[in-house]
Symmetry: C2
Subunit: 239 residues, 2 copies
């Protein structure tokens, strides 16, 4: 079992993912929000690569049971029902609904990896559940960090590194690469106090400036759920 | 003064570098080889983005004073006079000559950053000289790791992180980003024994398998020269 890791989706093209087992991470905030939505009874999340496509999809096949959610550069999108704060995705609002979801980095990363044979969404919230499932699967894994507009983001790298570390804890014989070793090393340096660490990242600081400080706390919660979002046929459902 | 860092050239397009001060790092082996060539009296190094262009350029404007050098996927290229081992670039062979140079990652990274207003080449061999020069310049800096076929490479990241660390040592008030903090953290973990560390990287292992173990020693030498390769008008000369 080999663990490869990308710090940004721009490092590979769509066909790279064909037949692979891929884990997409966007700690702030798409992964955390998708996990929260599915934990609270959303029927499915439909990740899209552009805002225009989100509007098109939501007006069509899904009828009245669809909500538009997400953000563009931290801000809620005009005409969208929901932003990208996990706390907005309460059971009252989203239970039984399909969420068409766009975000600057996370949803686009998922769409890029759509040809994967297995595609999971991971954050700190469900990290151990994902690690245990990957161990059971026993396939080579690509960890795809969503990053920040083609740049590496520390929060995704550290979460990815924690996942690598957990997989290594379970199986000492994993084959690692420069990238997965690098991420694991970053986790060992920064992973001791996740809420504090998140508040010091480039993206964390921007979220705090924009009034989303409480989102950081939600996104930092370790193993708060066993829900593993699984992408198949253009939609994400609970595995 | 702000330090941004890319783990792979694929993270930015050519225009991103316009007007920027950029430092290209390809520890194994292009940076180290270019530094060695210029230290040993090469007139200039002409980095090219394709092998075809190398052949075209060398047959044309430079007449008999030109040597073709470089590698593709670790191996010397058919018809090229020199490979990508620093030790091949001796004073006897290259003094006074122009070297048209292609390598899988390094020369392409340099060509990608060609619109930079300042473009330097750095490896462990000239790290302190580059750090001191950047401090004098006092401009924002982009550190561009050549990486490994769009992937992050630990050797470039750690060398980049050592450069960041040295710049921070000189000026505590530098503005860092997630990427530059990440690289500096990797340096602090891996930078204690550079020769040993290089031999354990993905690329280091491939070089050893292909009989280039002694190159690792050359590439690991810290501050063996003050030569700073500087790119301008399509060629690299000593600053």
């Amino acid at each position: 079992m080999k663990i490869e890791l990308l710090f940004s989706p721009v490092q590979a093209d769509e066909l790279f993912f064909t037949g692979k087992t891929t884990v997409v991470i966007d700690v702030l905030r798409a992964s955390s929000t998708i996990i929260e939505a599915l934990s609270n009874g959303a029927k499915e999340v439909v990740p899209v690569g552009t805002v225009e496509f989100a509007v098109k999809v939501s007006g069509g096949i899904f009828g009245g049971q669809t909500l538009l959610g997400g953000e563009r550069n931290t801000k809620k999108i005009e005409g969208f029902a929901l932003g990208n704060s996990p706390s907005e995705y309460t059971r009252e609002i989203i239970s039984g609904k399909a969420i068409v979801f766009y975000s600057t980095n996370g949803s686009r990363a998922i769409v890029k990896a759509k040809y994967s044979s297995n595609l999971f969404v991971c954050s700190f919230n469900n990290l151990s559940a994902v690690a245990n499932h990957l161990t059971k699967l026993n396939e080579d894994v690509i960890i795809l960090c969503s990053g920040n507009n083609n740049f590496m983001s520390l929060e995704d790298s550290v979460c990815a590194g924690m996942l690598v570390n957990k997989l290594v804890d379970i199986d000492k014989n994993l084959a690692l690469t420069d990238s997965s070793i690098g991420a694991m090393t970053l986790f060992k340096s920064f992973g001791k106090n996740i809420p504090k660490f998140l508040s010091e990242t480039d993206h964390g600081k921007i979220l705090i400036e924009n009034g989303f400080e409480s989102d950081l706390k939600d996104c930092a919660e370790l193993d708060s759920t066993e829900v593993i979002p699984y992408y198949s046929d253009n939609t994400i459902k609970v595995l």
